[in-house]
Symmetry: C2
Subunit: 167 residues, 2 copies
DNA sequence: GAATAGGTACTCGGATAATGCCTGTCCGAGTCTAGTGGG
DNA sequence: CCCACTAGACTCGGACAGGCATTATCCGAGTACCTATTC
């Protein structure tokens, strides 16, 4: 069970967008350059973030992505759900309790959810609660605490490459 | 992100083993019959449980599986880790923060873990703690509360099919 | 000189292949049982 | 009658394919900008 790595990309990209607080949107290609990621695939993840309303997209020349709301109002859960398509459900009960001879014999009403599913649901709720409680702003602070120069370096690199030399 | 469905099978099988508290081990084929599961694949899951020390296996005629310890001493986390092979890690940091131009520029020591990984780790710890706190005995009680006849039905069916008619 | 129309380049968006993991299956090694023959 | 041996069958264990989700990619639709032409 592994979370899609697009989550990591999405969070880092949102952090970069917050550091590059600029009036102009930033295209996916530029965001991909920052972390040396596959352009097309990151673009796909950004589309997911746009659909979820985390970032807003602008088409055409000088277009790109920008944060749709302050980064402190974006939770880690928002990004996870956006990338995973809302199906970030760790456990899906297949109701095998109903199958087989025993399931046939005990005709009990299965209206109550399976005990396994209930327990898994409780654990998953804890997981989601922790993710919801964490904002990208907090994560950004942690990232900068570990590597303080990152934000400035991002800004410097972006300014230098703003008008790239054409061949 | 979906948990392997073998987890559900493993838990139900362990519950069945606890209900069929018998001195004799129960072969995987019999366990598979209970819930109408693919025999070979369930056997594979049972092997994983055996490797993890949750059940003990006996080879040869009259062989099979039995619980290695009381069911109240088996946590849901034990089963999840056993089936998932210990790699039930929801998030794996690929350290993209080091890649790309910015990562190169900011030569900061990356000894501290990435902020994203840390936040994910906290959420995952909550998840694992909830799973660890839940014993299969509790789940069994919930299952029986929902469908009270299950345990008896399992015992009856097992006794009836103990000496199956050969063709 | 200013405005407008057209062309061009750039960007997102969704539709389309390739890869890896989970699912599913098979056969061989080992072990216990049961039957048989001998003491 | 009891014991040892042998043959048989049963069970687990690990090695071997198939299906599907994730990963990765591409091309088309739309938009803004820039340029050239006209008034």
């Amino acid at each position: 069970m592994r979370l899609a790595e697009g989550v990591e990309w999405g969070v880092h990209s949102c952090l970069a967008l917050s550091w590059l607080e600029d009036e102009a949107p930033i295209p996916a290609a530029r965001l991909a350059d920052i972390h040396d990621l596959p352009v097309a695939y990151l673009a796909k993840q950004m589309q997911a973030l746009a659909r979820a309303g985390i970032v807003s997209s602008t088409s055409g020349a000088r277009g790109g992505f920008r944060l749709a709301r302050p980064i402190r109002e974006i939770s880690l859960l928002d990004v996870v759900d956006a990338i995973e398509g809302g199906r970030a459900v760790t456990f899906e009960c297949t109701e095998i309790r109903r199958r087989g001879p025993v399931g046939q014999v005990s005709d009990s009403s299965f209206s109550a959810p399976c005990g396994i599913a209930a327990a898994m649901r409780r654990a998953e709720d804890n997981w989601r609660a922790a993710l919801k409680h964490t904002s990208l702003a907090e994560i950004g602070r942690e990232v900068l605490a570990a590597a303080p120069g990152t934000a400035d370096a991002t800004r410097v690199w972006f300014a230098q490459s703003r008008n790239p030399v054409r061949n």
